[in-house]
Symmetry: C2
Subunit: 335 residues, 2 copies
DNA sequence: ACATCATATCGAACCGGTTCGGTAAATGAT
DNA sequence: ATCATTTACCGAACCGGTTCGATATGATGT
């Protein structure tokens, strides 16, 4: 492996001059610069990113931490961030927390130890203490999807109450009153907001909510399945179900199929977020989708800006809230 | 940040002794070791992985490079590798090549510059020259899914010819003769093998193959969609279609739905590999699935073994071929 | 009691860069 | 012609570890 010293020797300059030539070429004499570049060419010199990181105290890696890469929603965001990062010379280190707050925290500390330049985080930790942890983190963090109150970080997300408000209004308009709601993990930002969107809309329409129809599916397939099963085995089962995310929504559909209910004839269904092959699923599910690509784009821009310059780093944290889009399917029918 | 020197000072020993205590504790006196550990505790010292990497010439990062993280198949493998890597103190750096060979190569070189400990690779590059590139790579590589002939690396994959052999025999038994085959990118290992499995089985059964029914869908959704469209708009369309992977298989189903064909009544369908929500897709698709988890497990074990010891590193490359499993759905019918 | 050997610890070189203070030459001001 | 300032480059310290040869001490063999 050729080092900066080899280049310096060949070009007949000191190593500090080579370093200078690499980092701020204009501060080096034109002719000297030429010789150095020539030497670099002929030796095939590649800068060692590890040594550079050690010396600079900062690497050119960006971390991406989320709960579930398998979920298309996070996958799309990841793709977009990765794309932009590569454009700016950054490499993306991806880590999957599996939704476990303790693991997530360990991952973040590990990333920090790697002197990572910045982190895009869909947080799963919660609470005062976690917010403090995030706030005091020295590495720039841009949070997406999940907002942690008190973390005082940039946040990119969707209008979550609106997602379920739209779905609930849609079902109310179709005449549904007994609506089951499979919520996400209570305490999680999006889960609480989506639940609130549902509750408020129901209350706003003067419809009583049967509390036993509001269950917690934890945003997971298995959780959604279990809770949908509970809802649908009741004698007084709901006429419609809302899944607070794609996993729980589809899990509900699966339960309907397993139990021989037809959707939407027997039970209507609506959910938040899309999945990759939704258009070959029968019936086409009515949903509210977030613009994952746009979210990723914003998150990446924000993070790169913070990393790039001291001014960017000093800017006050800002929230970016996108409006989700309603996609009508055939999984809901008029009562 | 506290460094090893702080610990040394506090424990009243030299920094080399601290390093020794950390790396081979048994070579340090019991009492000294105690003092050092105590000093580490009280200072909250964490070793700096970057400095360690620079000094050692090797990091504790493992790279995972594949074409498409969104595809559940790769996602499952990733999860398994990540899991095992974390258990052994390694961090997984994930990179998505989007199936582009040039990008993949750049990623690999970049990972190597990071002095990564090892790489799990689902290769998309092909050809003699690429094989040489992989063979001469200094970092341990374990390839999975896609085998590159001549790379002389460990390989973990499935019996690919068997995947399509099983599906083809199944369709032949049901009386199908005009079978459309949507292949993967020609030149890609699994694609070629799966195509061969189809061709050989047809030939073995004495059935003539209409070459125009064999199309290249490139393993992608869009490619599969376009080719399925071509197959299904023909006057003499096939009675059954095989998708060489999950993307192209589902794309074919989508085309059928768009064109108003019913599956399996009008056209039968079978494919290789599963997708996350296949059990809510109507009809349940007949498929041959690989054991992704097992593949990931084997790949991780192999890679960790190579990384761990010089003996492991020296072991001759070995192939691990798993047998795929047939899952009968309702997407194929007797003619 | 003396040579031999293992054990515990240390000092210094090294990994490959960055950065800052300093010097010598060139440029500009007066 | 003299002094001030800029420009181009260098030397050395530093980032935070690892590793190896050297040294001092104590144990073993005879």
């Amino acid at each position: 492996m050729t080092t900066i010293r080899d280049v310096a020797r060949l070009a007949g300059v000191s190593i500090s001059t080579v370093s200078l030539a690499l980092n701020s070429p204009k501060r080096v004499g034109a002719e000297t610069l030429d010789r150095i570049l020539q030497a670099i060419k002929s030796t095939g010199y590649r800068i060692d990113p590890v040594a550079q990181t050690l010396a600079r105290g900062r690497s050119s890696l960006i971390g991406f931490v989320s709960a579930n890469l398998g979920n298309m929603f996070f996958g799309d965001i990841r793709r977009e961030i990765e794309h932009q990062a590569l454009d700016h010379g950054y490499f993306v280190l991806i880590a999957d927390s599996s939704g476990r707050a303790d693991l997530e925290r360990a991952l973040l500390e590990r990333l920090e130890a790697q002197k990572i330049a910045g982190i895009a985080l869909a947080a799963n930790g919660r609470g005062e203490e976690y917010a403090t942890f995030l706030r005091d983190f020295k590495t720039p963090i841009v949070m997406f999807d999940q907002k942690v109150e008190g973390a005082e970080r940039d946040f990119v997300g969707s209008d979550n109450p609106l997602t379920t408000t739209i779905l609930t209004e849609h079902l109310l308009q179709l005449g549904h009153r007994r609506i089951g709601f499979i919520s996400g993990p209570s305490g999680l930002h999006t889960a609480d907001e989506r639940l609130k969107g549902f509750m408020d809309t129901m209350a706003g329409a003067g419809v009583d909510i049967d509390p036993s129809l509001v269950v917690e599916g934890g945003y997971t397939r298995t959780g959604g399945h279990a809770q949908a099963m509970r809802l649908l085995t009741r004698r007084d089962r709901p006429t419609a179900i809302i899944g607070a995310n794609n996993m729980t929504g589809l899990a509900a559909l699966q339960v309907m199929q397993e139990m021989g209910f037809r959707c939407p004839d027997d039970v209507s269904l609506a959910m938040v977020d899309d999945v990759p092959w939704s258009n070959v699923i029968t019936p086409r599910i009515t949903m509210v989708v977030q613009d994952a690509q746009k979210l990723g784009e914003l998150a990446a821009q924000r993070l790169l800006a913070r990393i790039a310059s001291p001014e960017g780093a000093a800017a006050p944290p800002q929230d970016f809230i996108l409006t989700p889009r309603f996609v009508r399917g055939e999984s809901t029918r008029r009562l």
